[in-house]
């Protein structure tokens, strides 16, 4: 991480938190936007495009908060587009490609439930701009959760190929599911300064209890423990490098241009 402009422990920890959240929303938003035009049915094409647009907007707002905290002269676009793939700080869960529709739904469900747990722990944050934005995000994310919960039920309860594909997707993503809530450097400072309500471990354990209840009710396995949690947001995949080449293409085509 390049944090040359960051000051004391609080700013560095807050910057990492904001960057991790912004990168999560940016990567899942861009990745899911690949469905635009090729969704399984027209209604879902519109829905997933709308969800992806929401996530990109959330990323933009979070990058805005990040540049205000870090204040190293970069604007939100520069942070979003001008880093090499290794400089991104999203959770490894989002390093998986969108895959088939079942994998997209499984990834969204894991991400949205974990993100909801994270946002709940930030609802009373001492960093006012984050607290205000989180209040807004949670109102919008309610629709995301409703959408993806419905789809998880539909795939799981239909049996046959949809369920087989869902089970395969959950098996592939499962070991990386917990990466969204894996402890970030600076956790102690975040909690001490009242930015985050409780430890990542506490947030993750509540999320695991909730997701397990739901999965077990559907006759599915609970999500497994996180593989290599120390590298939850580093060492990205080839799938992400391809995505990165895609989403930086226009920006790279004319460096410094105003669009």
């Amino acid at each position: 991480m390049d944090f040359s402009g960051a000051g004391d422990g609080r700013e560095r920890a807050l910057g990492l938190l904001l960057l991790s959240m912004a990168d999560d929303e940016f990567v899942i938003g861009f990745s899911d936007s690949e469905w635009t035009g090729i969704g399984p049915i027209l209604e879902e094409d519109v829905a997933i495009s709308s969800l992806a647009q929401d996530e990109l907007g959330h990323a933009q707002a979070l990058y805005g908060l990040f540049v205000d905290v870090v204040a190293d002269g970069r604007d939100a676009d520069a942070v979003a587009y001008d880093r090499p793939p290794e400089g991104y700080f999203h959770a490894r869960l989002l390093d998986h490609s969108r895959g088939d529709w079942a994998q997209t739904i499984a990834r969204r469900w894991i991400y949205e439930t974990a993100d909801a747990a994270r946002l709940a722990a930030l609802a009373a944050s001492s960093h006012a701009p984050l607290r205000e934005l989180v209040a807004k995000l949670r109102r919008e994310e309610r629709y995301h959760l409703m959408h993806v919960d419905t789809w998880l039920d539909r795939l799981a309860e239909s049996g046959g190929e949809p369920r087989r594909r869902l089970v395969a997707a959950l098996a592939e993503l499962g070991p990386d599911a917990g990466t969204v809530l894996a402890p970030l450097p600076g956790e102690t400072a975040l909690v001490r300064h009242g930015i985050l309500a409780e430890s990542w471990a506490a947030i993750e354990s509540r999320w695991r209890a909730e997701t397990s209840t739901k999965l077990i009710r559907l006759g599915l396995d609970a999500l497994p423990a996180t593989r290599d949690p120390g590298a939850a947001r580093t060492r990205h995949s080839d799938a992400f490098r391809l995505l990165h080449a895609d989403f930086t293409m226009v920006r790279r085509s004319e460096v410094g241009a105003t669009w």
């Binding site: 209604e43 519109v46 829905a47 709308s50 969800l51 647009q53 929401d54 996530e55 990109l56 907007g57 959330h58 933009q60 707002a61 701009p129 205000e132 934005l133 209040a135 807004k136 995000l137 109102r139 919008e140 629709y143 409703m146 959408h147």
Partner: protein, 169 residues
């Protein structure tokens, strides 16, 4: 949806000129004639977007609340507001803030009427949505996701008309 240029309602009230006193009341009255670029029957005031107006001798500052964080109409609204207030003859600053979340309770009664006039049901929980054309309650949600981030798709079984409803948020 295609985002057309937001526009002042033509011919109703003359726009401000340098001679118009720049008071908060006059600025708000002018904002009341700036329409949402995607819902031409509703002003940004009736939509509840205007959070604060501050008039000082050297500038006018307007703070707006986005309906949805990713709303792509924000930049159009910003430039329309800037243009609409240019006549006051001092720099205009338009900022978006999340200081309080925009919620559907911020819509005024005139805003709700304006939505219906555009064929959009005002926000309500799905069970309480009424057809904007025939007011029937025999409606069904087709999808929570419509042509813009802020709207859902419904169908009226009474007048057999598909319509959009503003999402409650």
């Amino acid at each position: 949806m295609v985002t057309g240029a937001a526009s002042l309602a033509p011919g109703l009230v003359p726009g401000p000129t340098a001679a118009t006193p720049a008071t908060e009341t006059m600025v708000r009255a002018t904002l009341g004639r700036v329409h949402d670029p995607e819902i031409p029957t509703v002003s940004i005031v009736d939509l509840g977007l205007v959070h604060a107006v501050a008039v000082t001798p050297d500038r006018i500052r307007v703070e707006l609340l986005p309906t949805f964080v990713a709303c792509p109409a924000l930049e159009v609204i910003r430039s329309t507001v800037t243009d609409a207030l240019a006549g006051f003859g001092r720099p205009v600053e338009v900022a978006f803030t999340f200081l309080v979340p925009w919620t559907t309770e911020r819509l005024t009664p005139a805003g709700r009427d304006g939505l219906r006039a555009a064929g959009i049901a005002p926000p309500a929980e799905p069970a309480d949505v009424r057809c904007p054309y025939c007011a029937s309650a025999r409606v069904a949600m087709d999808s929570a996701f419509g042509p813009t981030l802020c709207r859902s798709l419904f169908y009226c079984r009474e007048c057999r008309q598909p319509f959009e409803a503003f999402k409650p948020i």
